[in-house]
């Protein structure tokens, strides 16, 4: 298992070093804005805030409310594209 985690660590490191992680992040953000995911989630945030009261909202509140919904709301096309890209990167650079 440690090999596994080692491998993971190595791959993650490679992702960051080559700048691929940043690129993937930007790509995902752009796609989510395009497909309206961000606006949907923002509307959800508004509800949460109105619920909790404007003054007492904390980051943790928001995170716990928003993240699961956010994960669920990502459209399939975006998910597929990102997975493909990650796989391609691993195929190129993974040393096993």
């Amino acid at each position: 298992m440690s090999k596994d985690s080692q491998m993971r660590a190595a791959i993650n490191q490679k992702l960051i070093e080559m700048g691929e992680r940043e690129r993937l992040k930007e790509l995902l953000r752009a796609k989510l804005v395009e497909c309206g995911w961000k606006d949907q989630l923002k509307a959800h945030c508004k509800d949460v805030i109105r619920e909790k009261g404007l003054e007492h909202v904390t980051v943790e509140d928001l995170v716990t409310e928003v993240t699961p919904k956010g994960r669920a709301l990502v459209p399939d096309s975006v998910k597929k594209e990102l997975l493909t890209r990650i796989r391609a990167f691993l195929a190129q650079h993974a040393t096993l």
Partner: protein, 377 residues
Amino acid sequence: MKMEDMPLSGPDNTKLEALVHDIYSELVEDACLGLCFEVHRAVKQGYFFLDETDQESMKEFEIVDQPGVDIFGQVYNQWKNKECECPNCKRLIAASRFAPHLEKCLGMGRNSSRIANRRLASNNNNSKSESDQEDNDDLNDNDWSYGAEKKAKKRKSDKNQNSPRRSKSLKHKNGDLGKSIISEPYKYNYNTGISYESLGPDEVRSLLTTQCGVISEHTKKMCTRSQRCPQHTDEQRRAVRVFLLGPSAPSLPDADPVVESDSFDIPEGQTLMNHPQWEDSPDISPTDSASSKASTNHSDSRKLKKKKRMTLNLNSGVGAAAAAVVGGGGGIGGVGCLASGSSTSGGSSQSSISLPSKKKRPKLSAASISSTYHDLN
């Protein structure tokens, strides 16, 4: 997602897939976190709910989704079918065509003057070709009709003589022949080049004395620019003359720029006084403007000089009849001028004759005018 795409072996695949998914989840969580931070900051800074006001105002600016209306609720082609009455001509014009129509109708605006000028010019040309039509009252004025007459004659001669000199000298005239400047450019545009094959030896010789004449390789046409045109060298000009006229061709009339500028007009007019009128007087009757026609029939190159003389006379402010007289005399002078030109083979000789006698010209012309007035009366 097909596992067969992976080049790696079985057990590693699942791990790899798991890894891929993990990486993906991390990325998504990062995005969500980013959003949360953004929202939280907006809440705490107080600008989160800024785009929402009270319900009433919200209703006002709601997006409209009806047919025939844009999202703001405005009708698109509201003014398209409306007609307006023109205050000038009292016609009903469509709204979108109203502004251009007003421009033309009132005679203001940039295009209307241009079109009016063009129409006048073409009407002048047409009135000569359609002989005795007096449609255009503008042409009843003696001066104008005389100008139109000359232009008609010139047009016929233009077909034989593709010389830029014509339009060149026109450019120097101002005032009276404003129209000629408009109609003449039409002709100038046609004469971008001459094919030497279509000209006789005389024409070629006369052309070569006035123009550069170098034959372009692309178009096989002679250059119609002046003797000193910067595109071609003297060597080229000499070569063309040898080629076209044989080895015994007259040398290039070069040197004095005076020869080619508009002062050419003055030498022409003066030489008429210098050279006795014995040369062609039997052929030309001075009182007849047709005398100019007679003189032009003699040689092509004379037409050049004749036109310039005509215009020069007009500029000196003499009346139409007197202009005809002096023009007739000018035809004679042109002949004499050319005779001297061909025999001495030099514009320099012409200019040498002309320069000293420049001052004599006006008095001489006045004398001749007064004498011919007596004749007329």
